[in-house]
């Protein structure tokens, strides 16, 4: 068929580099797939029981657009207890996973600002979300020695240059690096001064070894920060696609409208599963973090013995390496040994590979040494 309309549509999409940005898989394909965002974790029987009970009692119908009330409460409680951010039920939108959280915040909060500042190294999901509708983007330079975070100075320069909305990850989804309490306070001040706003991805925060500073927990910042992340990670729900947005109510309204337009509500099975997970999360996280920390410190040691350059990172669930020969050669070596890792090029860091911290990661590292 020679259809000009179709050719136009396809060309428009083909030329959209953001939309077509390659992205890591969302869930590990196998135990040797160390490149996916989501880990394969066991699922507690209590989560299965609670989800089945909900389904069997007729929770198979549409539910409220922003999510079932008890889960919104559970997410607000979690954010308050875990990172000190003052969110309530009305601030929470439950999403069909982390990417929907990125999309709704970037597009709907983004629509209220002229431009959005995005770090040069960022999860490609942010670029994909930007690619769905033309947005003016300011690229924030990143500092490789700081685990590819944008420095406070870069944030300051972008905001001073008129870019009042920022998308920031802490921990970085590439390296696991976090902003310190001091840096977070400084970012808060910069943004506050210019009446700006931040979309703050803290999805990896539960795996931070030590103190974690959340931007929304800064004095007065909750009114200008949308916090996003996976709902209760590490609980075996990665393939159930469940995430959250916590934001001032004035921003919740347009995001809720758009959520209605694009998916009506989030799957009830995922929501009731996450609700039960919220009860078990505190204890499970402690155990997982201890085990991840142990594995990761062994991995760091292995890497330094093998002269590998480990990026600065505080999240215990990932380890990122800077490879002088570039990510491609390292990925090929890993693949030959039967392992997959994340290509840093997807994030904007072509000399980095990222590996999930699991029981098989040490063997993968040995292949690289």
């Amino acid at each position: 068929m020679t259809s000009k309309t179709k050719r136009d549509v396809l060309e428009k999409h083909r030329d959209n580099a953001n939309l077509n940005a390659p992205s890591p898989a969302q869930v590990m394909f196998s135990q040797n797939d160390l490149g996916a965002d989501g880990l394969i974790r066991p699922l507690d029987e209590r989560i299965i029981a609670a989800t089945v009970e909900a389904l069997e009692s007729g929770q198979t119908h549409y539910v409220d657009v922003p999510g079932i009330a008890p889960l919104r409460d559970a997410v607000a409680d979690y954010l308050r207890e875990f990172s000190g951010a003052a969110y309530e039920q009305g601030n929470i939108v439950i999403t069909a996973g982390m990417q929907e959280s990125r999309f709704l915040t970037i597009q709907m909060i983004g629509a209220q600002f002229d431009s959005i500042g995005v770090p040069e190294a960022v999860h490609p999901g942010a670029r994909k979300a930007l690619g769905t509708r033309a947005r003016k983007v300011a690229t924030l330079p990143v500092d490789a020695s700081a685990g590819y975070l944008s420095s406070v100075e870069s944030v300051d320069a972008a905001v001073a240059g008129g870019c009042r909305l920022l998308f920031l990850e802490s921990p970085s989804r590439l390296s696991g690096a976090v902003y310190s309490g001091e840096q977070v306070a400084a970012i808060g001040e910069i943004v506050n001064e210019k009446d700006g706003a931040v979309i703050w991805d803290q999805g990896l925060a539960p795996w931070v070894d030590g103190d974690y500073a959340s931007l929304a927990a800064q004095d007065g910042e909750a009114a200008r920060v949308a916090t996003i992340g996976e709902a209760f990670p590490g609980m075996g729900l990665a393939s159930w696609f469940i995430g959250f947005i916590a934001a001032p109510e004035a921003w919740v309204a347009p995001m809720q409208s758009q959520k209605q337009i694009q998916s009506i509500c989030t799957s009830t099975a995922s929501q009731y599963g996450a609700l039960e997970a919220s009860q078990l999360f505190g204890a499970a996280r402690g155990q997982q973090l201890a085990s991840l920390r142990q594995i990761r410190s062994r991995l760091s040691q292995l890497a330094s013995e093998g002269d590998l350059d480990v990026l600065r990172g505080a999240a215990a669930n990932i380890i990122a390496l800077r490879m002088e020969s570039g990510s491609e050669a390292a990925l090929a070596t890993l693949r030959a040994a039967g392992y997959e890792a994340t290509d840093g090029a997807f994030f904007g860091a072509p000399d980095v590979v990222r590996l999930n911290v699991t029981n098989t990661t040490a063997d993968a590292l040995r292949a690289l040494v």
Binding site: S3, T5, N20, D33, H61, W240, S267
Partner: protein, 386 residues
């Protein structure tokens, strides 16, 4: 009680909130089937939680589900698709709808939309920056959109043609003859066809549903959506799909990855069970809707309401102009006085203030009771007019 005048979805949300406060409410509003999901589908979800809870699914969905979808659209709709490259699984029909509209239309592009129609189409088009070009249809013709009007609506900016059959809220089914003509117009003017088959299993009397993608020259320019929500009573599972030609579907896949990534594997396994398991529950529900439709139409006849005969779907869109009330006011009075929720036409379009949408999605006894109460409300309203 005075209410601020609200429009569209907000108005509906206010009414839904009010309705939920009445213990004895009868809901003939939202398009959510009253049946719970059949037990064997819930069992499959349970099995998936035990055996497949962490399965990897690419953005386009599990291959086993895409194969079941390919088989389904061949069997029911006579559309040939390759499960590998021509199917994308979505978070319900709604996400399919949004993806389809955004994939086909960009800023300034015109989408031709027979009206009345499901309002999310206009909302999605607005996101894409496209322009809606309306073609009106009315109750006296059972909401048939005339292909001649569609042809007249074509301009240099036309990019796509929306065909929702059976339709929500109008319940019209595009006849095979009209469908051929619609596709002919799309081919002649090089439009992408967006087909919504979500109610395709609910077609009444001798009416016939035809998918444009099944016609010669159709598939290569048509994106067709469907979902398990309505047919299997699975609205809460959020499972739908788009099928279409591989080139357009590759773009739909990227958009899906950008908007939400993947789809819950638990819902996907439930979906496989729905599509490949026993179909008697679907047939039972379809039969119930046939009976209920008759019940509703008989009651509307008694009330003297004109309507487009619902040829398919789960609704009736009735003309309430004889009451002299705006549909928002009428729906509000029926709700406040009789605790029956029906949707005002004004929620669908500013041009449809004279209509009321009622669903068949309540058990027969309840539906009967709801209709009796509506008769009381209407009698009161008409008495006030004397």
């Amino acid at each position: 009680m005075s209410k601020k005048k609200k429009q569209g979805t907000n108005l509906l949300y206010d009414m839904i909130a009010e309705a939920s406060a009445y213990d004895d409410v009868i809901v003939m509003g939202r398009g959510d089937p009253d049946f719970d999901t059949p037990a064997h589908i819930v069992d499959a979800a349970k099995d998936a939680m035990v055996n497949h809870h962490a399965d990897y699914s690419p953005p386009e969905g599990l291959l086993a589900l895409r194969e079941a979808i390919a088989e389904r659209v061949k069997r029911v709709n006579n559309i040939d698709v390759d499960a590998d490259t021509e199917v994308v699984v979505t978070n319900g029909g709604q996400e399919a709808l949004f993806l389809m509209v955004v994939a086909a239309n960009g800023p300034g592009d015109e989408m031709i939309v027979p009206e009345p129609n499901y309002t999310t189409y206009a909302d999605s088009l607005a996101f894409a920056g496209g322009v809606k070009v309306e073609v009106q249809a009315f109750a006296e013709n059972d909401f048939r959109a005339d292909p001649a009007d569609v042809r007249a609506a074509v301009s240099d900016e036309s990019r796509s043609l929306l065909l929702v059959s059976p339709n929500n809220p109008a319940a019209n089914v595009i006849s095979p003859e009209d469908m051929r003509e619609m596709l002919g117009i799309a081919i002649e003017h090089d439009l992408i066809v967006l087909a919504d088959d979500i109610y395709d299993l609910f077609v009444y009397d001798d009416f016939e549903h035809l998918s444009p993608a099944s016609l010669p020259g159709g598939k290569e320019r048509t994106l067709t959506l469907n979902a398990l929500s309505k047919a299997y009573s699975m609205t809460g599972w959020r499972l739908g799909w788009i099928v279409g030609p591989a080139d357009l579907m590759a773009r739909v896949r990227e958009l899906k990855a950008a908007i939400s990534g993947g789809t819950s594997v638990i819902s996907q396994y439930a979906g496989i069970a729905a599509l490949t398991g026993p179909q008697d529950a679907v047939e039972m529900m379809a039969e119930a809707y046939r009976r209920r439709r008759r019940l509703v139409l008989d009651a509307l006849d008694e009330m003297g309401m004109a309507y487009g005969v619902p040829q398919g779907g789960q609704f009736v869109f009735a003309d309430i102009s004889f009451t002299g009330l705006d549909s928002g006011e009428l729906a509000q009075r029926i709700l406040s006085e009789q605790h029956v929720l029906a949707y005002p036409g004004s929620a669908f379009s500013k041009d449809r203030k004279d209509y009321l949408r009622m669903t068949f999605l309540q058990p027969e006894e309840k539906l009967r009771e709801g209709l009796e109460r509506m008769k009381v409300a209407m009698a009161d309203i008409m008495a006030e007019r004397q």
